[in-house]
């Protein structure tokens, strides 16, 4: 797919060749893979297409001079046309990394300007106060919007899930539970039956019993599931292709400084919300927590456009996005603190302490908004809230650790198989039929799920039932114990022998487990919004409950064994299978995502108490150790590596002894570094360089002989400035000299007028010497968020290291494929 534009390049031919694996190699000086941008962004620099563009209208021209930290409008130099920054200068291309240092310094300049002006007039004082207050107002709005959308999603998903089974006659908008809410016909045994709710067979043929009715229900279930998933994938494909998948790997990358235009836009928000409900309702084995984080970040990004402070500055915007991610997890689990810790641990890259307090505020507002909408009718935020507080015994730590080991093993198995399947989808013909793939997976899931009641119900309901501690008031199959009423002492329900219902439930749960373990591998990553928190928790909860019931029966029948006799005598309530289910869920979730603190905090916010912190921590730690021993990466990092995003992992140590000169470009056999001189190049020379190479920036030196560094200039800024100068400025022709110095170089008066581009030059690029160890260089890149770093030798410019080179070097040192890094 080589475009005609690329054919004109003479240098950088490496950039055009693609190797056999289908990965693209960037051009050798570590620039952006511009050929990607040609096709991805449409035109390489068509800013008009992008969603998140800074507004290119007149009002920004005036405002921008404040933010560029320099252009004093009162200077009286001649040819000062370009002191006022142009629209587009200082913004970034799609699929590029931002310059954190520049953004942060811009924000500091802006703040300084406002602070110094605030003493002048009352209006300026009000302006400075409102500027400081704008961050909190933004958090409030994000919390409100995220909470409202989560309420919409919860209520609609709840309703649509039950639509597969029947319809409520007293108001089609009620789901099964709400339809029978006011009914007096519900019995103790059949809490779900009421005359207002009719299943499809009852609606179509009049009665609900018999083989034909069962087949009809089966057929309608599969049909509805297919309809929902078909609508979901068509909407995603037609309106917002970025709305598929979980979203967390991409958000991680965006928060580390990458730009994906449109990923957090309004169409993505609408489509993600609508199709998430459809995907969840279709019975697929996926959850809505990951997509809710994406939805909340979209809200954050959209609301940022209301405030100039955040709209124009990419670094400040990412602070807001971190807080929005916290609000997303908070509404998903009803856990504000867990949400903030999740954002801190998993999603964010730079998390200044000021963001911590604001994230907590946003998460709290979101949780409160959701609670006031009350989607589940009982002031609970999540369906599977746990309310028991029965104590546990130290000896039970052994099965908890076993659950942790299972969680770790399952987590690594899931990550490996899911990545293998996703890679196959990426590279083979399977990826050409996304709609068909979704339909086939839905059909298989629906056909296999209907016969087993534990897979027919939605996964959240399954988890809720598994977490439930069985009391006398429960009548589900799982709670069918043999009740001996004479031995009931007060409120304490002792361990009882399992009735036949429990045994049936056990093998049905085992079948459900097998189905969920395998079908989730194929479901996560499909072209519909899909999360994996709920399926992992379901797998863990099933295993936990099975183990818990097993332990309970073991203790009941063998209460005279030495391990049980001390604490579990006959008639005591010692083993709670619901607790085992909870610990199992935490273990599996930790094994897949490798969350530590945030997982434990989310789980104990779900239970509402600190009693179970020790079992949860034991299981989470064990599962993380076991999973880390098998494979280092969690699911999100594995997906980042699969897609080749330029994500510099902040948690890993770089421990090799290489030096900067081993990594820098140009290497030994490569052509010399392309530089621009500070006052001796003509416009046509610079244009030739830009046309012939694809680098995203060029160092500016005093002269080619001395190679002493002046600064660094970006390609995008150069192009815009030269184009604008040719149009607007008088006398600029192809032979005009471009100069970056303060005063123009002396030239004979007959030469054409000169073009001053000092305003777009970065005068303080980061440099290291060639003998700097790579450990320090990697640390610098990580901590400062650099995009490129110049290498000097004895004070002279020698080469350049970009973030892509660093990532490739790390991959090489870890014996991974260095060509898998696609973006810069």
């Amino acid at each position: 797919m080589a475009s005609p534009w690329l054919g004109q390049q003479s240098l950088g031919s490496e950039a055009v060749a693609m190797n056999n694996k289908g990965f693209r190699r960037g051009s050798f000086q570590g620039s952006t893979s511009d050929e990607d941008m040609v096709e991805i962004a449409g035109r390489a620099l068509d800013f008009s297409i992008t969603d998140d563009d800074p507004p290119l209208d007149r009002e920004m021209l005036g405002g921008f001079s404040l933010y560029n930290g320099g252009g004093m409008n009162g200077t009286s130099q001649m040819m000062d046309f370009l002191e006022e920054p142009l629209p587009g200068v200082g913004t970034y291309e799609d699929f590029n990394t931002i310059d954190w240092v520049r953004e942060k310094s811009r924000d500091r300049d802006r703040h300084r300007e406002i602070a110094s002006k605030s003493k002048e007039s009352t209006w300026a004082l009000i302006h400075s106060v409102s500027d400081a207050f704008s961050g909190w107002l933004l958090m409030l709005l994000i919390g409100l919007l995220a909470g409202s959308l989560a309420g919409l999603i919860d209520i609609s998903a709840h309703w649509m899930t039950d639509l597969k089974e029947g319809l409520c006659l007293s108001g089609f908008w009620f789901n099964h539970e709400h339809c029978c809410w006011n009914s007096n016909e519900t019995t103790f045994e059949d809490r779900d039956k009421c005359p207002e709710w009719e299943s499809w067979s009852q609606l179509i043929i009049g009665h609900g019993e018999g083989a034909f009715a069962y087949i009809l229900n089966y057929f309608m279930y599969v049909l509805w599931a297919l309809v929902f998933s078909l609508l979901a994938v068509l909407l995603v494909r037609g309106f917002a292709p970025y709305a598929c998948g979980s979203g967390i790997p991409e958000i991680k990358t965006i928060l580390s400084g990458f730009i994906i235009r449109g990923y957090l836009g309004k169409w993505t928000l609408i489509i993600k919300t609508v199709t998430l409900v459809l995907a969840v309702s279709s019975g697929l084995s996926l959850g809505k927590e990951g997509p809710l984080v994406h939805v909340a970040c979209c809200c954050g990004n959209i609301l940022c456009h209301l405030f100039t402070k955040y709209r124009k500055n990419e670094a400040k915007r990412r602070e807001v996005l971190s807080a929005a991610a916290a609000a997303g997890v908070s509404v998903a689990f009803g856990a504000p603190i867990g949400g903030v810790l999740f954002s801190l641990e998993e999603v964010s890259y730079y998390f200044p302490l000021k963001t911590l307090w604001r994230s907590f505020f946003a998460a709290l507002v979101a949780a409160f908004t959701l609670r006031s909408i009350n989607p589940f009718g009982n002031s609970r935020l999540v369906l599977f809230y746990v309310e028991f507080h029965t104590p546990w015994h130290l000896l039970e730590l052994v099965p908890f650790i076993l659950l942790g080991i299972f969680g770790g093993l399952w987590g690594s198995f899931f990550i490996r198989s899911n990545i293998a399947w996703c890679r196959r989808r990426k590279t083979t013909k399977l990826g050409k039929y996304p709609v068909l793939e979704v339909l086939v997976v839905t059909a298989i899931t629906a056909v296999l799920a209907f016969p087993n009641e534990y897979t027919r119900m939605s996964t959240s309901e399954l988890i809720s039932e598994l977490f439930n501690d069985c009391g006398l008031l429960d009548f589900s199959k799982l709670c069918e114990y043999v009740n001996d009423f004479n031995s009931t002492t007060g409120d304490v329900l002792p361990d009882r022998a399992a009735g036949p219902g429990v045994y049936t439930a056990m093998w049905q749960l085992a079948l459900a487990l097998i189905l969920k373990v395998f079908i989730t591998i194929f479901t996560f990553g499909m072209k519909v919004p899909s999360g994996l928190f709920i399926p992992s928790m379901a797998v863990g909860a099933i295993v936990g409950r099975l183990l818990g019931v097993g332990m309970e029966q073991l203790a009941y029948y063998h209460h005279d064994w030495t391990i049980f006799s001390g604490w579990c005598s006959q008639g005591a309530d010692c083993i709670t299978p619901g607790l085992y289910a909870m610990v199992g869920a935490a273990a599996c979730l930790g094994g897949v995502t490798r969350m530590t603190v945030s997982l434990v905090v989310i789980m104990f916010e779900l239970t509402g108490g600190l009693e179970y912190i020790v079992p949860l921590m034991a299981a989470a730690m064990t599962s993380k150790w076991v999973a880390d021993a098998i494979g280092r990466e969690g699911i999100y990092d594995a997906h980042i590596r699969l897609n080749g995003y330029p994500f510099l992992e902040a948690k890993e140590e770089f421990s090799h002894k290489t030096l900067a000169m081993d990594v820098m470009r140009p290497r030994r056999n490569d052509p010399v570094l392309t530089v621009i001189t500070q006052d001796s190049m003509m416009v046509e020379d610079v244009e030739a360089i830009i046309n012939e190479t694809t680098y995203s920036g060029y160092p500016v030196v005093v002269s080619r002989e001395s190679q002493r560094l002046v600064g660094f200039v970006l390609r995008r800024d150069l192009i815009i400035s030269i184009e604008n100068a040719r149009k607007k400025q008088d006398g600029i022709v192809s032979t005009s000299i471009i100069y970056f110095t303060d005063h123009s170089p002396p030239l004979p008066p007959s030469s054409p007028s000169m073009l001053k581009l000092r305003s777009i030059l970065d005068l303080s690029p980061f440099t290291v010497t060639d003998q700097t160890p790579m450990e320090i260089v990697v640390d610098i890149f990580r901590k400062l968020g650099l995009r490129q770093c110049l290498v000097t030798h004895n004070g002279k410019l020698l080469g350049i290291i970009t973030k892509k080179d660093v990532l490739k070097h790390i991959a090489q040192m870890a014996n991974q494929d260095p060509d898998s890094i696609l973006f810069n």
């Binding site: 035109r43 909470g147 006011n182 045994e189 494909r237 037609g238 917002a240 292709p241 959209i302 009350n374």
Partner: protein, 187 residues
């Protein structure tokens, strides 16, 4: 601009929902008492619309299945919970969701079926849409020309809408190419 409209509608939705939750329907509160099996009596569930302070076994259970001194023992085992919901919220939310879904589906049908027919009839109405092959042809400097030209204001509203729609379509096309065809992002 469109972002602001979107924000306003979202906030309106939020306000509406919250206002609606303030309205308490008579049917939307209940006291639910679950009484387990007792001696030879099977288990029962009782529902009644009572206020929160009256939510206990004696007020809710109308026809007590046991009599005399057994009543207290029976009632001690029962668990009564006060629940409220907002059926208006549920109704409004589901209807809003279905209308958004319906609008999106209609728009999708319009874009795929109706629009090409209309475009063919109104021949040459807009030259803004560019085919895929043109996309790679532009030089970097020509693109910058486009950027700077955008600061001209467009007087005609219809032109604006048309232009915005074309831009949006191209954007979706690019996204679709990178996600579905080349599998570069979001594998």
């Amino acid at each position: 601009m469109a972002a602001r409209a979107r924000l306003c509608s979202m906030l309106a939705l939020a306000a509406l929902v919250r206002q609606v939750t303030g309205v308490k329907n008579f049917e939307d509160v209940r006291c639910k008492c679950i009484c387990p099996p007792y001696k030879d009596q099977p288990g029962h569930i009782f529902n009644k619309n009572v206020s929160q302070k009256d939510c206990d076994c004696l007020h809710v259970v109308e026809s007590m299945p046991v009599s005399g001194p057994d009543v207290e023992a029976y009632c001690l085992r029962c668990e009564c919970k006060y629940e409220e919901r907002s059926s208006v919220t549920i109704k409004v939310t589901v209807i809003i969701y279905l209308s958004i879904l319906g609008l999106l589906l209609l728009y999708m049908v319009y874009l795929t079926l109706a629009e090409p027919i209309l475009k063919r009839r109104l021949f040459g109405h807009s030259q803004l849409i560019q085919s895929d092959e043109d996309i790679g042809d532009h030089q970097p400097f020509a693109n910058a020309h486009d950027v700077l030209a955008r600061s001209r204001s467009r007087a005609n509203v219809l032109n604006k809408v048309e232009y915005a729609q074309q831009r949006w379509k191209l954007q979706v096309q690019e996204q679709r190419k990178s996600v579905f065809d080349r599998h570069v992002v979001l594998s």
